[in-house]
Protein backbone atom coordinates (compact mmCIF):
# COMPACT_ATOMS: atom_id res chain seq x y z
CA UNK A 1 0.00 0.00 0.00
CA UNK A 2 1.29 3.39 -0.93
CA UNK A 3 1.53 5.75 2.00
CA UNK A 4 -0.45 8.98 1.94
CA UNK A 5 1.21 12.33 1.38
CA UNK A 6 0.56 13.25 5.01
CA UNK A 7 2.25 10.08 6.26
CA UNK A 8 5.32 10.63 4.13
CA UNK A 9 5.44 14.26 5.16
CA UNK A 10 5.28 13.31 8.81
CA UNK A 11 8.16 10.90 8.42
CA UNK A 12 10.28 13.59 6.82
CA UNK A 13 9.35 16.02 9.60
CA UNK A 14 10.25 13.45 12.24
CA UNK A 15 13.57 12.85 10.56
CA UNK A 16 14.21 16.57 10.36
CA UNK A 17 13.57 16.81 14.10
CA UNK A 18 16.37 14.35 14.72
CA UNK A 19 18.96 16.49 12.93
CA UNK A 20 20.43 19.15 15.26
CA UNK A 21 21.89 21.01 12.30
CA UNK A 22 18.39 21.68 11.00
CA UNK A 23 17.09 23.08 14.25
CA UNK A 24 17.57 26.57 12.90
CA UNK A 25 14.69 26.00 10.50
CA UNK A 26 11.77 26.80 12.76
CA UNK A 27 9.45 28.82 10.56
CA UNK A 28 5.96 27.72 11.57
CA UNK A 29 4.11 29.71 8.97
CA UNK A 30 2.07 27.90 6.37
CA UNK A 31 4.08 29.77 3.76
CA UNK A 32 7.38 28.44 5.11
CA UNK A 33 9.80 27.59 2.34
CA UNK A 34 11.31 24.56 4.04
CA UNK A 35 7.86 23.10 4.69
CA UNK A 36 6.93 23.73 1.11
CA UNK A 37 9.92 21.70 0.02
CA UNK A 38 8.96 18.87 2.31
CA UNK A 39 5.50 18.91 0.82
CA UNK A 40 6.88 18.84 -2.71
CA UNK A 41 9.24 15.98 -1.93
CA UNK A 42 6.50 14.05 -0.12
CA UNK A 43 4.18 14.48 -3.09
CA UNK A 44 6.86 13.26 -5.46
CA UNK A 45 7.51 10.20 -3.30
CA UNK A 46 3.78 9.55 -3.09
CA UNK A 47 3.41 9.60 -6.87
CA UNK A 48 6.35 7.26 -7.13
CA UNK A 49 4.86 4.87 -4.59
CA UNK A 50 1.57 4.86 -6.46
CA UNK A 51 3.37 3.81 -9.62
CA UNK A 52 5.33 1.13 -7.82
CA UNK A 53 2.16 -0.12 -6.21
CA UNK A 54 0.38 -0.43 -9.53
CA UNK A 55 3.37 -2.11 -11.11
CA UNK A 56 3.58 -4.63 -8.33
CA UNK A 57 -0.05 -5.43 -8.76
CA UNK A 58 -0.25 -5.89 -12.51
CA UNK A 59 3.21 -6.35 -13.92
CA UNK A 60 4.02 -9.48 -12.02
CA UNK A 61 2.89 -12.51 -13.97
CA UNK A 62 1.11 -15.40 -12.29
CA UNK A 63 -1.37 -13.23 -10.41
CA UNK A 64 -5.06 -13.11 -11.24
CA UNK A 65 -4.86 -9.34 -11.50
CA UNK A 66 -2.19 -9.66 -14.11
CA UNK A 67 -4.37 -11.94 -16.22
CA UNK A 68 -7.20 -9.47 -15.94
CA UNK A 69 -5.03 -6.55 -16.97
CA UNK A 70 -3.69 -8.50 -19.94
CA UNK A 71 -7.19 -9.43 -21.04
CA UNK A 72 -8.39 -5.83 -20.88
CA UNK A 73 -5.34 -4.83 -22.86
CA UNK A 74 -6.03 -7.26 -25.67
CA UNK A 75 -6.12 -5.62 -29.08
CA UNK A 76 -8.13 -7.52 -31.62
CA UNK A 77 -6.50 -7.52 -35.01
CA UNK A 78 -2.97 -6.76 -33.82
CA UNK A 79 -0.61 -9.64 -34.25
CA UNK A 80 1.64 -10.65 -31.42
CA UNK A 81 4.99 -11.98 -32.48
CA UNK A 82 6.32 -14.25 -29.75
CA UNK A 83 9.74 -14.73 -31.31
CA UNK A 84 10.42 -11.09 -31.90
CA UNK A 85 13.20 -9.58 -29.87
CA UNK A 86 13.65 -6.41 -31.87
CA UNK A 87 10.33 -5.80 -33.56
CA UNK A 88 8.52 -5.42 -30.31
CA UNK A 89 4.82 -5.62 -30.45
CA UNK A 90 4.64 -5.40 -26.67
CA UNK A 91 6.24 -2.39 -25.07
CA UNK A 92 6.70 -1.29 -21.49
CA UNK A 93 4.61 1.81 -20.94
CA UNK A 94 2.79 3.40 -18.01
CA UNK A 95 3.84 0.63 -15.72
CA UNK A 96 2.72 -2.36 -17.71
CA UNK A 97 3.31 -4.25 -20.89
CA UNK A 98 1.19 -2.90 -23.68
CA UNK A 99 0.76 -3.36 -27.37
CA UNK A 100 2.88 -1.06 -29.45
CA UNK A 101 0.29 1.32 -30.79
CA UNK A 102 2.50 3.86 -32.47
CA UNK A 103 0.81 5.33 -35.51
CA UNK A 104 -2.69 4.54 -34.35
CA UNK A 105 -5.15 7.18 -33.25
CA UNK A 106 -6.77 7.05 -29.83
CA UNK A 107 -10.10 5.96 -31.24
CA UNK A 108 -8.48 3.22 -33.32
CA UNK A 109 -6.76 1.92 -30.19
CA UNK A 110 -9.99 2.06 -28.25
CA UNK A 111 -11.83 0.24 -31.01
CA UNK A 112 -9.35 -2.59 -31.14
CA UNK A 113 -9.62 -3.18 -27.43
CA UNK A 114 -12.65 -5.39 -27.61
CA UNK A 115 -12.70 -6.64 -24.05
CA UNK A 116 -14.36 -4.16 -21.77
CA UNK A 117 -15.23 -6.43 -18.86
CA UNK A 118 -13.20 -9.24 -17.46
CA UNK A 119 -13.32 -11.36 -14.35
CA UNK A 120 -10.63 -13.84 -13.42
CA UNK A 121 -11.03 -16.51 -10.82
CA UNK A 122 -9.68 -19.89 -9.89
CA UNK A 123 -10.59 -22.78 -7.67
CA UNK A 124 -7.92 -23.86 -5.26
CA UNK A 125 -7.52 -27.28 -3.83
CA UNK A 126 -8.66 -26.23 -0.35
CA UNK A 127 -12.08 -25.26 -1.59
CA UNK A 128 -12.47 -28.64 -3.18
CA UNK A 129 -11.16 -30.42 -0.08
CA UNK A 130 -14.29 -29.49 1.76
CA UNK A 131 -14.57 -31.92 4.67
CA UNK A 132 -18.27 -32.29 3.99
CA UNK A 133 -17.93 -33.44 0.43
CA UNK A 134 -17.44 -37.04 -0.50
CA UNK A 135 -14.02 -38.21 -1.67
CA UNK A 136 -15.57 -39.05 -4.97
CA UNK A 137 -16.61 -35.43 -5.57
CA UNK A 138 -13.17 -34.19 -4.60
CA UNK A 139 -11.49 -36.55 -7.02
CA UNK A 140 -13.96 -35.68 -9.73
CA UNK A 141 -13.35 -31.95 -9.32
CA UNK A 142 -9.64 -32.52 -9.29
CA UNK A 143 -9.46 -34.70 -12.33
CA UNK A 144 -11.91 -32.70 -14.31
CA UNK A 145 -9.43 -29.90 -14.05
CA UNK A 146 -11.42 -27.49 -12.02
CA UNK A 147 -8.48 -27.17 -9.68
CA UNK A 148 -5.52 -25.20 -10.90
CA UNK A 149 -7.46 -23.71 -13.77
CA UNK A 150 -7.71 -19.98 -14.28
CA UNK A 151 -11.22 -19.06 -15.30
CA UNK A 152 -11.53 -15.92 -17.38
CA UNK A 153 -14.94 -14.48 -18.16
CA UNK A 154 -14.88 -11.71 -20.70
CA UNK A 155 -17.48 -9.46 -22.24
CA UNK A 156 -17.55 -6.43 -24.45
CA UNK A 157 -19.92 -3.51 -24.75
CA UNK A 158 -22.19 -3.19 -27.75
CA UNK A 159 -24.66 -0.33 -28.06
CA UNK A 160 -23.92 0.60 -24.44
CA UNK A 161 -24.97 -2.87 -23.33
CA UNK A 162 -22.78 -5.64 -22.02
CA UNK A 163 -22.61 -8.41 -24.52
CA UNK A 164 -20.39 -11.34 -25.32
CA UNK A 165 -17.51 -10.93 -27.70
CA UNK A 166 -17.87 -12.29 -31.18
CA UNK A 167 -17.83 -16.08 -30.94
CA UNK A 168 -15.98 -17.80 -32.48
CA UNK A 169 -13.76 -15.24 -34.28
CA UNK A 170 -12.81 -12.83 -31.52
CA UNK A 171 -12.90 -15.51 -28.85
CA UNK A 172 -10.56 -17.68 -30.90
CA UNK A 173 -8.12 -14.80 -31.30
CA UNK A 174 -8.31 -13.97 -27.63
CA UNK A 175 -7.68 -17.58 -26.63
CA UNK A 176 -4.67 -17.61 -28.90
CA UNK A 177 -3.39 -14.42 -27.30
CA UNK A 178 -3.76 -15.75 -23.77
CA UNK A 179 -2.11 -19.00 -24.82
CA UNK A 180 0.91 -17.02 -25.94
CA UNK A 181 1.32 -14.83 -22.90
CA UNK A 182 0.32 -17.23 -20.16
CA UNK A 183 2.82 -19.21 -18.13
CA UNK A 184 3.72 -22.62 -19.41
CA UNK A 185 1.66 -25.35 -17.84
CA UNK A 186 -1.17 -23.13 -16.69
CA UNK A 187 -4.65 -24.14 -17.64
CA UNK A 188 -6.78 -21.21 -18.67
CA UNK A 189 -10.46 -21.55 -19.35
CA UNK A 190 -11.89 -18.64 -21.27
CA UNK A 191 -15.57 -18.05 -21.68
CA UNK A 192 -17.70 -15.31 -23.09
CA UNK A 193 -21.33 -16.20 -22.85
CA UNK A 194 -24.58 -14.50 -23.45
CA UNK A 195 -26.05 -12.91 -20.36
CA UNK A 196 -27.93 -15.13 -17.96
CA UNK A 197 -31.69 -15.28 -18.10
CA UNK A 198 -33.43 -13.69 -15.17
CA UNK A 199 -37.08 -13.85 -14.28
CA UNK A 200 -38.43 -11.87 -11.39
CA UNK A 201 -41.82 -11.75 -9.73
CA UNK A 202 -42.68 -8.94 -7.39
CA UNK A 203 -45.59 -7.76 -5.34
CA UNK A 204 -45.38 -4.03 -5.10
CA UNK A 205 -47.55 -1.84 -2.97
CA UNK A 206 -47.71 1.49 -4.75
CA UNK A 207 -49.04 4.92 -4.01
CA UNK A 208 -52.23 5.13 -6.08
CA UNK A 209 -51.81 8.89 -6.25
CA UNK A 210 -48.68 8.69 -8.36
CA UNK A 211 -48.83 5.30 -10.09
CA UNK A 212 -51.50 4.30 -12.53
CA UNK A 213 -53.43 1.05 -12.08
CA UNK A 214 -56.44 0.28 -14.19
CA UNK A 215 -59.28 -0.30 -11.67
CA UNK A 216 -60.52 -3.36 -13.52
CA UNK A 217 -57.21 -5.12 -12.96
CA UNK A 218 -57.17 -4.60 -9.22
CA UNK A 219 -59.04 -7.80 -8.57
CA UNK A 220 -56.53 -9.88 -10.46
CA UNK A 221 -53.61 -8.38 -8.62
CA UNK A 222 -55.32 -8.79 -5.27
CA UNK A 223 -56.08 -12.42 -5.98
CA UNK A 224 -52.41 -13.07 -6.68
CA UNK A 225 -51.25 -11.86 -3.32
CA UNK A 226 -54.03 -13.16 -1.13
CA UNK A 227 -53.32 -16.70 -2.28
CA UNK A 228 -51.42 -18.64 0.35
CA UNK A 229 -48.16 -20.26 -0.69
CA UNK A 230 -49.63 -23.75 -0.60
CA UNK A 231 -51.93 -23.11 -3.54
CA UNK A 232 -49.46 -21.09 -5.56
CA UNK A 233 -49.12 -23.99 -7.96
CA UNK A 234 -52.78 -23.76 -8.76
CA UNK A 235 -52.58 -20.09 -9.53
CA UNK A 236 -49.63 -20.56 -11.82
CA UNK A 237 -51.63 -23.06 -13.82
CA UNK A 238 -54.39 -20.68 -14.84
CA UNK A 239 -52.14 -17.66 -14.83
CA UNK A 240 -52.31 -17.22 -18.56
CA UNK A 241 -55.96 -16.33 -18.96
CA UNK A 242 -56.44 -13.02 -17.20
CA UNK A 243 -52.86 -11.89 -17.56
CA UNK A 244 -53.23 -11.06 -21.23
CA UNK A 245 -56.09 -8.71 -20.52
CA UNK A 246 -54.12 -6.55 -18.16
CA UNK A 247 -53.77 -2.92 -19.03
CA UNK A 248 -50.24 -2.46 -20.39
CA UNK A 249 -49.92 0.94 -18.78
CA UNK A 250 -50.39 -0.45 -15.30
CA UNK A 251 -47.51 0.67 -13.13
CA UNK A 252 -46.66 3.76 -15.12
CA UNK A 253 -46.55 7.19 -13.58
CA UNK A 254 -49.82 9.03 -13.77
CA UNK A 255 -47.96 12.19 -14.71
CA UNK A 256 -45.93 10.46 -17.44
CA UNK A 257 -47.23 7.23 -18.89
CA UNK A 258 -43.87 6.41 -20.47
CA UNK A 259 -42.16 5.95 -17.13
CA UNK A 260 -42.48 2.69 -15.26
CA UNK A 261 -40.73 3.32 -11.92
CA UNK A 262 -40.52 -0.32 -10.81
CA UNK A 263 -39.25 -1.70 -14.08
CA UNK A 264 -36.86 1.20 -14.55
CA UNK A 265 -35.46 0.76 -11.05
CA UNK A 266 -34.91 -2.96 -11.60
CA UNK A 267 -33.22 -2.44 -14.96
CA UNK A 268 -31.10 0.33 -13.59
CA UNK A 269 -30.03 -1.80 -10.66
CA UNK A 270 -29.16 -4.80 -12.83
CA UNK A 271 -27.22 -2.58 -15.20
CA UNK A 272 -25.17 -1.19 -12.35
CA UNK A 273 -24.15 -4.52 -10.89
CA UNK A 274 -20.48 -4.75 -11.64
CA UNK A 275 -19.31 -7.41 -14.04
CA UNK A 276 -19.23 -10.81 -12.35
CA UNK A 277 -20.79 -9.14 -9.33
CA UNK A 278 -23.41 -10.85 -7.28
CA UNK A 279 -27.12 -10.37 -7.71
CA UNK A 280 -28.30 -9.66 -4.18
CA UNK A 281 -32.02 -9.88 -3.56
CA UNK A 282 -31.97 -7.35 -0.75
CA UNK A 283 -30.12 -4.78 -2.84
CA UNK A 284 -32.66 -5.12 -5.62
CA UNK A 285 -35.49 -4.56 -3.17
CA UNK A 286 -33.65 -1.54 -1.79
CA UNK A 287 -33.29 -0.12 -5.28
CA UNK A 288 -36.97 -0.58 -6.06
CA UNK A 289 -37.89 0.94 -2.73
CA UNK A 290 -36.22 4.18 -3.77
CA UNK A 291 -38.31 4.52 -6.94
CA UNK A 292 -41.04 7.09 -7.14
CA UNK A 293 -44.41 6.15 -5.68
CA UNK A 294 -43.26 2.77 -4.35
CA UNK A 295 -44.31 1.92 -0.82
CA UNK A 296 -43.48 -1.76 -0.24
CA UNK A 297 -41.66 -3.88 -2.81
CA UNK A 298 -41.68 -7.62 -2.11
CA UNK A 299 -39.61 -9.95 -4.21
CA UNK A 300 -41.56 -13.16 -4.39
CA UNK A 301 -39.75 -15.21 -6.95
CA UNK A 302 -36.37 -15.23 -8.67
CA UNK A 303 -35.53 -17.59 -11.47
CA UNK A 304 -32.32 -17.70 -13.41
CA UNK A 305 -30.46 -19.81 -15.87
CA UNK A 306 -27.44 -19.62 -18.07
CA UNK A 307 -28.32 -18.48 -21.56
CA UNK A 308 -28.41 -21.10 -24.26
CA UNK A 309 -26.75 -20.80 -27.60
CA UNK A 310 -29.06 -20.49 -30.57
CA UNK A 311 -28.24 -24.03 -31.66
CA UNK A 312 -29.00 -25.54 -28.27
CA UNK A 313 -32.36 -26.70 -27.08
CA UNK A 314 -33.94 -23.72 -25.37
CA UNK A 315 -34.19 -24.23 -21.65
CA UNK A 316 -37.81 -23.81 -20.76
CA UNK A 317 -37.65 -24.05 -16.98
CA UNK A 318 -35.14 -21.76 -15.37
CA UNK A 319 -33.90 -22.72 -11.92
CA UNK A 320 -35.78 -21.26 -9.00
CA UNK A 321 -33.29 -19.41 -6.80
CA UNK A 322 -35.75 -17.52 -4.64
CA UNK A 323 -34.31 -19.02 -1.47
CA UNK A 324 -30.74 -17.98 -2.27
CA UNK A 325 -29.90 -14.54 -0.97
CA UNK A 326 -27.27 -13.85 -3.62
CA UNK A 327 -25.66 -15.49 -6.61
CA UNK A 328 -23.28 -14.62 -9.40
CA UNK A 329 -24.58 -14.96 -12.94
CA UNK A 330 -22.69 -17.62 -14.81
CA UNK A 331 -21.87 -15.35 -17.76
CA UNK A 332 -20.96 -12.55 -15.37
CA UNK A 333 -23.99 -10.47 -16.27
CA UNK A 334 -27.69 -10.71 -17.05
CA UNK A 335 -29.28 -10.42 -20.43
CA UNK A 336 -31.36 -7.28 -19.94
CA UNK A 337 -33.06 -7.69 -23.31
CA UNK A 338 -34.74 -10.90 -22.25
CA UNK A 339 -35.35 -9.86 -18.70
CA UNK A 340 -38.79 -10.95 -17.56
CA UNK A 341 -40.37 -9.07 -14.74
CA UNK A 342 -43.83 -9.79 -13.48
CA UNK A 343 -45.18 -7.19 -11.12
CA UNK A 344 -48.37 -7.27 -9.12
CA UNK A 345 -49.34 -3.71 -8.44
CA UNK A 346 -51.39 -3.30 -5.31
CA UNK A 347 -52.60 0.09 -4.16
CA UNK A 348 -51.25 1.06 -0.76
CA UNK A 349 -54.46 1.74 1.08
CA UNK A 350 -54.08 -0.02 4.41
CA UNK A 351 -55.43 2.89 6.34
CA UNK A 352 -58.84 2.19 4.83
CA UNK A 353 -58.71 -1.59 5.13
CA UNK A 354 -60.76 -3.51 7.64
CA UNK A 355 -58.55 -4.50 10.50
Amino acid sequence: MARTIAEIQKEILDEKGKQPSLEKLNNDSKTAIWKLWINIVATAIWVHEKIVEKNAMISRPHTLNWYREQALNFHYGVSLDPDSSNEMSLVWRDGSYQFDTTGLTDSEIEDSKIIKHCAVSEIDLETVLNPDSKPKEILSDYFHNKVGVVFIKVATVKDEKISRIDVPNQLFAFKEYIAKIKDAGNQVYISSDQGDILKLSLNVYVDPLSIYINPKDLEYYQSKISTPDSVLGLIEANESNPKDDLDPSNGSLISDSDVFPVLDAIKDHLKNIEFNGAFVKTYLVDAVQKAQGIKIPILTKVQTDAATNPSDEPNTSPTDVTKIEYFIPRAGYFDLENLEVEVNYIPYTFYRDKQ
Binding site: N26, S29, K30, T31, A32, L36
Partner: protein, 100 residues
Protein backbone atom coordinates in the same frame (compact mmCIF):
# COMPACT_ATOMS: atom_id res chain seq x y z
CA UNK B 1 11.23 32.31 13.13
CA UNK B 2 13.93 31.26 10.72
CA UNK B 3 13.67 29.85 7.25
CA UNK B 4 15.39 29.84 3.91
CA UNK B 5 15.25 33.24 2.27
CA UNK B 6 14.37 33.77 -1.36
CA UNK B 7 15.04 36.93 -3.31
CA UNK B 8 12.63 38.79 -5.54
CA UNK B 9 13.10 36.35 -8.41
CA UNK B 10 12.23 33.50 -6.02
CA UNK B 11 15.81 32.29 -6.06
CA UNK B 12 17.27 30.93 -2.85
CA UNK B 13 19.88 33.31 -1.46
CA UNK B 14 23.19 31.92 -0.32
CA UNK B 15 24.69 32.66 3.06
CA UNK B 16 27.84 34.68 3.62
CA UNK B 17 30.08 31.73 4.50
CA UNK B 18 31.11 31.19 0.92
CA UNK B 19 30.56 27.44 1.20
CA UNK B 20 27.52 27.60 -1.02
CA UNK B 21 25.08 26.95 1.83
CA UNK B 22 21.59 28.35 1.80
CA UNK B 23 20.98 31.36 3.97
CA UNK B 24 18.75 30.69 6.96
CA UNK B 25 17.51 33.98 8.36
CA UNK B 26 14.59 35.62 10.09
CA UNK B 27 11.59 34.94 7.84
CA UNK B 28 8.54 36.68 9.34
CA UNK B 29 8.70 39.46 6.77
CA UNK B 30 9.01 36.91 3.98
CA UNK B 31 6.06 34.87 5.25
CA UNK B 32 3.75 37.85 5.08
CA UNK B 33 5.06 38.88 1.69
CA UNK B 34 4.39 35.41 0.30
CA UNK B 35 1.01 35.26 1.99
CA UNK B 36 -0.09 38.50 0.36
CA UNK B 37 1.26 37.69 -3.08
CA UNK B 38 0.17 34.07 -3.44
CA UNK B 39 -3.16 33.15 -4.96
CA UNK B 40 -5.49 30.65 -3.35
CA UNK B 41 -4.54 27.21 -4.53
CA UNK B 42 -0.88 28.04 -4.99
CA UNK B 43 0.02 26.10 -1.87
CA UNK B 44 -1.24 22.61 -2.62
CA UNK B 45 -1.07 21.63 1.02
CA UNK B 46 -3.23 24.55 2.13
CA UNK B 47 -5.56 25.29 -0.78
CA UNK B 48 -7.29 28.27 0.84
CA UNK B 49 -4.06 30.01 1.80
CA UNK B 50 -3.13 33.23 0.02
CA UNK B 51 -4.54 36.75 -0.35
CA UNK B 52 -3.86 37.24 -4.03
CA UNK B 53 -3.30 40.94 -3.59
CA UNK B 54 -2.70 41.64 -7.27
CA UNK B 55 -6.37 41.22 -8.03
CA UNK B 56 -7.35 43.82 -5.45
CA UNK B 57 -4.82 46.41 -6.42
CA UNK B 58 -6.31 46.89 -9.87
CA UNK B 59 -9.68 47.99 -8.50
CA UNK B 60 -8.96 50.66 -5.92
CA UNK B 61 -12.50 51.49 -4.84
CA UNK B 62 -13.63 51.55 -1.25
CA UNK B 63 -15.52 48.25 -1.08
CA UNK B 64 -12.73 46.19 -2.55
CA UNK B 65 -10.34 47.83 -0.14
CA UNK B 66 -12.54 46.78 2.76
CA UNK B 67 -12.66 43.31 1.36
CA UNK B 68 -8.90 43.30 1.03
CA UNK B 69 -8.49 44.36 4.61
CA UNK B 70 -10.84 41.66 5.75
CA UNK B 71 -9.09 39.06 3.61
CA UNK B 72 -5.62 39.98 4.85
CA UNK B 73 -6.84 39.85 8.42
CA UNK B 74 -8.41 36.45 7.91
CA UNK B 75 -5.40 35.02 6.13
CA UNK B 76 -2.97 36.30 8.74
CA UNK B 77 -4.90 34.78 11.58
CA UNK B 78 -5.23 31.55 9.56
CA UNK B 79 -1.44 31.56 9.54
CA UNK B 80 -1.48 32.10 13.34
CA UNK B 81 -0.23 35.67 13.01
CA UNK B 82 -1.55 38.01 15.66
CA UNK B 83 -2.60 41.29 14.01
CA UNK B 84 -2.33 44.45 16.11
CA UNK B 85 -3.04 47.05 13.45
CA UNK B 86 -3.80 46.76 9.79
CA UNK B 87 -4.07 49.67 7.41
CA UNK B 88 -4.71 49.30 3.70
CA UNK B 89 -5.90 52.85 2.95
CA UNK B 90 -2.77 53.44 0.97
CA UNK B 91 -2.39 50.52 -1.40
CA UNK B 92 1.20 51.46 -2.15
CA UNK B 93 2.03 51.23 1.48
CA UNK B 94 0.05 48.66 3.41
CA UNK B 95 0.82 48.71 7.09
CA UNK B 96 0.67 45.51 9.07
CA UNK B 97 1.72 45.37 12.68
CA UNK B 98 1.71 42.25 14.77
CA UNK B 99 3.66 39.14 15.53
CA UNK B 100 3.58 35.37 15.32
Amino acid sequence: MKDFIVDEDLLITGDDSGNGDFAIKEADQQNIEHLLLSQKGSYKEFPILGVGIKKYINSPDATSRLRLENEIDKQLSYDKFYVKTLDVNDLQNIKIDGNY
